[in-house]
Amino acid sequence: MRKILIANRAEIACRVIDSVQAAGFDAIAVHSDADAQSRFVSMADASVAIGGQTPAESYLDIDKIINAAKAADADAIHPGYGFLSENADFAKACADNNIKFIGPSSDAINLMGNKASAKDLMIKAGVPCVPGYQGTAQDNAHLIKEAKKIGAPIMVKAAAGGGGRGMRLVTDLAELPDALDSARAESTSAFSSDELILEKAIVDGRHIELQIAGDSHGNVIHLGERDCSAQRRHQKVIEECPSPFVTPALRAKMGEAAVNAAKAVNYEGVGTVEFLVDEKENFYFLEMNTRLQVEHPVTELVTDTDLVDWQLRIASGEPLPCEQSDIHFDGHAIEVRIYAEDPLNNFMPQTGKIHYFEPYDNVGVRIDHGLHSGCQITPYYDAMLAKLICWGKDREEARRRLIRALTQTRILGLTTNKSFLVDLLEQQTFVKGDTTTGFINEQLLEQLRAKNTDELIAVNAALIAHHSSHSAGSSGGWSNTEPMFIRDTLLIGGREVSVTSLATDIGFEVLVDGNEHLVQITHCESGTLIYNYNGVAKEAVFYLSDEETSIDFGKDNLNAKIMTYAPAASADGSGSGQIHASTEGLVVKVLVAEGEKVTKDQPLVIVEAMKMEHRHLADGDGEVIQVAVETGNQVKNRQLMVELKLTEVEDESA
C-alpha cells in the first residue's frame, strides 16, 4: 500500500487522514460539491471531486469512489464509518478492481449485516444471544406463536435494520399484530427487506460493546468494552471506556464471547461486538459492526492505541501489534458527540455557517472534528460537528474535564447540543455510573427542556443594543428627552420573540416576554463579550451581523435571526374574493360554475382585449358563489365577473 483513499468526509476523514499520514502513506480525499471547502479536503495530500450534494450522489456512489481511486492511483480505500463502510458490494467492487478495502471481507460483512443470519451464527459459536426468533417463516400467525413462547416484553426488529429503524417495543402481546405490520412496512421502505426478528426485550439494560481486532494470521484480541447506554432514540449520546458497570471478571467473559464471535466469521480488521447487559450481568449478543465505530477514541485513550493505524497494519497483512496480555486499561475516557441541533426545539437539525470555531485544548482533551471557522453545515449529511473526548485518571476526572472542555469549546453560528450534553453529564444517574438505556427518557427530556432562556435572550438584546449604539457614533443611543428604547424581533428556535432594551445609567433594561432584566455590558470587542447579570460578571463569545446573532455562553448557546426589518409574509395574499375585469374586453371563456370549489390562482375567466388574452385568477381558496358574466359578454373595466366566498385562513399574526 502506498496511497490510501478515504471514502468519507468530515471528522472521521480527518481522523483517518491523520493516522494514514502518520504511518507514512499518502491520503487521498474524495468530496462532494457541498464539501469542496472542507477541512478534510485541505488536510489530504490530494483530492478528487466526485460531485453531487446528497450522499446518494456522492459518498454512497460506488462507481464514483472506485473511479476516483483509480484516477488518483490509490491502491487502498478506507471507508470510515457509515456510508459504504459496511457495504459488501463495495468491498467486493474494491477487490474486483484490485484495490485493498481496509476492513473485513465482503463475506464477513454480509454475514454480520443480517441480524437473523448473524444471530444463527452466534448461537452456533456459543455466543449468548437474546432469546428470540429469527426463522424464515414470517407470517403474523407464526410470529405471534413464537412471541408467546418468548413472552413479553418483546422487541420487534427489522432483520436488515440498524439505527433504530423498523424497531418496535411491545409490552402487551395484544399490540403485537400492529407492531409487526408497522415494523414490516418501515423495514421494507428503509432496507428493501420485510424480514423481521423477534427478541426478548431487555428493558433498562446496558448497551456495552467490545472492541475487537483480528488479523490475517488468525489472531483475534479484544480491547475492552465501551459503555454506550446513554442513548436518545437508539442513538448514542455519551460513550465511555471502561463501563462503570463491568468488573474485570465480566470483561473477561464478554471479551471471550466477542473474540469467539469474530473468529466465527474469520474476522480481519477492527470491529465491534455489541451486547445488551441486564442488571444480573447476563449479556446477550446484539450485533457486530464490521467497521471503525464513531466512539473508538475512548478505547484508544484508555488502551493507548491507534485503531486506524491497526487497521492499516492488518490491511497490509501484518500481524496484530500485540497480544491480549499486552492490553492494559489505564484511567477512564468519556466521549460526547456535539451536534448542530436544537435540544429545546425537538432536536431540530441546524444548518448554516459556522462563523467561529475554537476547540478547547488542555491535558486529557481530544477533539475530533472537521470544522474550520467559516465552514458551512449543509442539510445533506449527518449534523454531527465534532466529538469531544476526555481522559482522566478516574471517571470523575474525565467527566469534569469533559464538562469543562464542552463549555470552553466555542462554536458560533449554529445552535448546538452542548448544553444538553452538559446537563446529561451532570445528572446524578450519570455521575453515579447508573446509566442504562432508559436514562434519557421523556421525563428527563421534559425536565431539561423546561429551562428558562430569558437571561440569554436578554443578554442577546443588550448586545444588539450596545453594538448598534456604538456603531452609530460617539453620541450613540443618545436622546435629549427620556431615553429611546430599542425594539427588536428575534427568531429563536422557531419562535418569534419581541425584546425591548432601554439604555440606563446602570445598564440595559431589557424586557423579554414582559419580564425585566438588567444587563450591563462592560466589554464588547473582537467577538468577546463581558456582561454583568445579577451582580455576576460573565464572559461569552459572540458573532453579530445585521441579520443574525450567535452567542456562545459556554454551556449554553443562543442563535437568533434578527427579524426586525424582515419583510412580512404576505397574509397569503388573499384578496376580496371579488374578481373584476382588469380591462374592457370580450369574455372568451368562463372556466368555473357557481358552487364550484376553487384554489388560489386558478383561472376563472378569460377576457380578450387588444388582441391579448387576460386570465383572471382566483385571489384565494374558496367557493364560487356567483358568476356574473358568460362567454360572449362584453365587459367594462372593473366590472364584477365572479364572486368567491374565500375560506377563512388562520390568522398568523395572532
Binding site: 449604539s469 452609530a472 450613540g476 443611543g477 435629549n480 428627552t481 427620556e482 429611546m484 427588536d488 412580512a568
Partner: protein, 548 residues
C-alpha cells in the same frame, strides 16, 4: 487658543444646592415626558389586540437602532386644552430628528394613543415647526400617520379648534405642497385613521405606504357619511388599504402590518441618492472639554439674583474648554469670542449681565465679523435686558440695541440659541430668541423668558397709579391700596409662572428644554444638521410631485 480655568468649587454647599435644584427641575420635565408615555402605555392592550405598535414603538422601529434622536417640543401643550400633568401633552405628535439607514431624517409620529391622535392647535404648531426645519435643512420627512382628524371635543379649551386653527391646518397642507416642489421628499405610512385633514396630510405626501386592514383614509368616515348623505358604507370600502391600492390609487406601497409598513418606509429612503451631507469632516479634530458636562448642573442658582460667570458654561460645552475672547477688556457684561464645538468653528455671544450700549456695539461688530467668515453663532442667553438709565439712554442705548437686533436678524450664517438663565425684554430678542429666527433654540430648566420681571411689572403699575394720584392731588384710599397690593401680587405670580421654562416650552417658545449636561450634544447635533444643509442636494420643481 487658551483654555479657560474654572472657579467653580464643586465641593461647596452652593454647588450642591445648585445641582440639586437643577436635577430636580430636569426630573420635572422628565416626569411630564414619562406621563405622556404612560398615557401611551395605557393603550397597549388595545393596540396589541389590533396588532398595532404603540406610537413610540413605531418611532423606535423607524429609527436606526441606537442612533441619536433629537426630540423637539416634547412637552408642548403641557397644561393646555385640559391637560394637567402632561397626560395629554405633546400635541398628540412626536417630532424630531433622527437617523434612518444612516441618513439624517425628520420624523413625525402621530400619537394615536392619546385622544386618537386628533389635531389641536399644538399639533398644528409642531407640524408647522417641523416643516420649517424641513425647508431650512432640506431633510426628508417621514411621517407615521394615524389621526382622527381635528379635535372636535376640545378638552377643556373653550376654543381649541376655532377658525384660526382651521387656517393654520391649511398652512400645513400648503407647506407640504411647497416641500414637494422644493425637492424635499415626504414619506407617509398610513397606519390607521386618516380622516378629512388627516387624509390630506397623507395624500399630499410624495410616498404613501398603505397598511392592510389598518389604513382607513377618507374624506368622511362612515358616521359622518351617514349623517351627511344617509349613505352607508364600511371602513374598508370607503378607504381601506386594498381599496386605495387597487381602485383609488391613493397609495403606492402596500404593507402587511405596522412593522412592515415602517420597513417599506425605510426601504424607500434607501432608494434616494446617497446623502453627500453625512460624514462631513469637521474643521479640526474634536477635543473634549476639560471639565465634565455634569457640572453644568451646578452653575446656575435657584435664586436668579445670584450671578455666575458664563465662562464656566463655555468651559464645559466647547472643545478643549478653549475660548478666544473678542474685546476681553471692554465691557464685562457682554462676552464674545471664537471657539470650536465638535471640531467645528463657531462664535459665541453670551451675557454676564445686562446689555450696555458698549456691549451692544461689541456684539454687533462681532456678529459682522463672523458673518464675513461664515462662522456659525451660538448665543448663550443670560440677560435681564438692555441697561436702562440716563447714562445708558444718552449713550445711545436704543440705537445700539436696535443695531444689535439688526445684526442678529440679518446674520447669514447658522444661529443657535441656548437660553441658560434670564431672557428678559428686548435683550431676549437681541440674544436671538425664537423671534429672531435661530435655526434651533433650546432652554435650560433655569431659563426665564418675559418682557420684564414680575416684580418690575407690578412696580410699574403701582408707580403709574401713584403718579396719577399725585397729579390729581388726591390720596389713594386704603381700599384701593389694598386692591393694588393684591393686583401687584397677582401680576408677580402670573408673570413669574408664565416666564418659567416649562411654561414657555409648553407654548413652544423654544424647541424644548434640555438637561444642561446635554448642551454640548444638542449643539453639535443641531449645528451639524444645519451645516450639512449646504451640502445636501435637492432637485426643486415647480408643482411638486402629483399623484395621478
Amino acid at each position: 487658543m487658551s483654555q479657560l480655568e474654572t472657579r467653580l468649587d464643586t465641593n461647596s454647599e452652593a454647588y450642591r444646592e445648585n445641582v440639586e435644584f437643577m436635577t430636580n427641575y430636569v426630573e420635572k420635565v422628565r416626569v411630564v415626558e414619562r406621563n405622556i408615555r404612560a398615557s401611551e402605555e395605557r393603550y397597549r392592550e388595545r393596540a396589541e389586540k389590533k396588532g398595532k405598535l404603540l406610537p413610540r414603538e413605531r418611532l423606535s422601529h423607524l429609527l436606526d437602532r441606537g442612533a441619536p434622536f433629537l426630540e423637539l417640543s416634547s412637552i408642548a401643550g403641557l397644561g393646555m386644552n385640559g391637560d394637567k400633568e402632561g397626560e395629554t401633552a405633546g400635541g398628540n405628535l412626536i417630532v424630531g430628528i433622527g437617523y434612518v439607514k444612516g441618513r439624517r431624517v425628520l420624523a413625525m409620529v402621530w400619537n394615536y394613543a392619546i385622544k386618537g391622535g386628533t389635531i389641536t392647535s399644538v399639533t398644528t404648531r409642531k407640524n408647522l415647526r417641523l416643516q420649517e426645519i424641513a425647508f431650512s435643512t432640506r431633510l426628508p420627512l417621514v411621517c407615521l400617520s394615524e389621526s382622527g382628524g381635528g379635535n372636535l371635543a376640545g378638552g377643556g379649551d373653550p376654543d381649541p379648534w376655532g377658525v384660526h386653527g382651521f387656517l393654520d391646518g391649511g398652512r400645513v397642507y400648503c407647506q407640504q405642497a411647497e416641500l414637494s416642489a422644493a425637492g424635499i421628499p415626504q414619506i407617509t405610512v398610513a397606519h390607521g385613521n386618516a380622516t378629512a385633514g388627516g387624509a390630506y396630510q397623507v395624500a399630499l405626501s410624495d410616498y404613501v405606504v398603505l397598511v392592510r386592514d389598518q389604513t382607513h383614509l377618507f374624506l368622511a368616515g362612515p358616521p359622518l357619511l351617514k349623517a351627511a348623505t344617509g349613505e352607508e358604507a364600511d371602513h374598508e370600502t370607503l378607504g381601506g388599504a386594498v381599496m386605495h391600492a387597487t381602485v383609488s390609487q391613493t397609495g403606492e406601497y402596500f404593507a402587511e402590518s405596522d412593522a412592515d409598513g415602517i420597513r417599506v418606509a425605510r426601504d424607500i429612503l434607501d432608494q434616494f441618492p446617497p446623502d453627500a451631507a453625512t460624514n462631513l469632516v469637521p474643521d479640526q479634530p474634536v477635543e473634549q472639554p476639560l471639565y465634565p458636562a455634569e457640572e453644568l448642573r451646578g452653575i446656575v442658582s435657584e435664586d436668579k439674583r445670584i450671578p455666575y460667570d458664563m465662562r464656566e458654561v463655555i468651559a464645559r460645552v466647547f472643545d478643549g474648554s478653549r475660548f478666544f475672547e473678542f474685546e476681553p477688556v471692554n465691557d464685562p457684561h457682554t462676552v464674545c469670542g471664537h471657539a470650536h464645538i465638535g471640531g467645528w468653528r463657531c462664535g459665541i455671544i453670551t451675557n454676564n449681565g445686562p446689555i450696555t450700549p458698549q456691549g451692544a456695539k461689541k456684539a454687533s461688530q462681532f456678529l459682522q465679523l463672523c458673518d464675513q467668515t461664515n462662522t456659525p453663532m451660538i448665543f448663550l442667553q443670560n440677560t435681564t435686558g438692555f441697561l436702562v438709565g440716563v447714562e445708558a439712554e444718552q449713550a445711545g442705548q436704543v440705537k445700539h440695541g436696535s443695531k444689535m437686533i439688526q445684526a442678529v436678524a440679518n446674520f447669514r450664517p447658522i444661529k443657535l440659541t441656548i437660553i441658560v438663565g434670564n431672557a428678559y425684554g428686548a435683550g431676549n430678542y437681541a440674544m436671538c430668541s425664537k423671534s429672531l429666527k435661530p435655526e434651533f433654540v433650546f432652554s435650560w430648566p433655569t431659563a426665564r423668558q418675559a418682557v420684564m420681571g414680575g416684580a418690575q411689572a407690578a412696580g410699574v403699575m403701582r408707580v403709574i397709579a401713584e403718579d396719577r394720584a399725585k397729579l390729581t392731588g388726591q390720596e389713594i384710599p386704603q381700599e384701593q391700596r389694598d386692591m393694588m397690593e393684591k393686583q401687584g401680587a397677582a401680576i408677580i405670580e402670573s408673570m413669574e409662572h408664565s416666564s418659567e421654562a416649562m411654561h414657555c416650552s409648553s407654548r413652544m417658545m423654544d424647541d424644548g428644554i434640555i438637561d444642561p449636561a446635554d448642551t454640548r450634544e444638542v449643539l453639535i447635533f443641531t449645528l451639524e444638521t444645519c451645516l450639512e444643509t449646504t451640502h445636501r442636494g435637492t432637485e426643486p420643481n415647480t408643482f411638486g410631485v402629483a399623484r395621478f
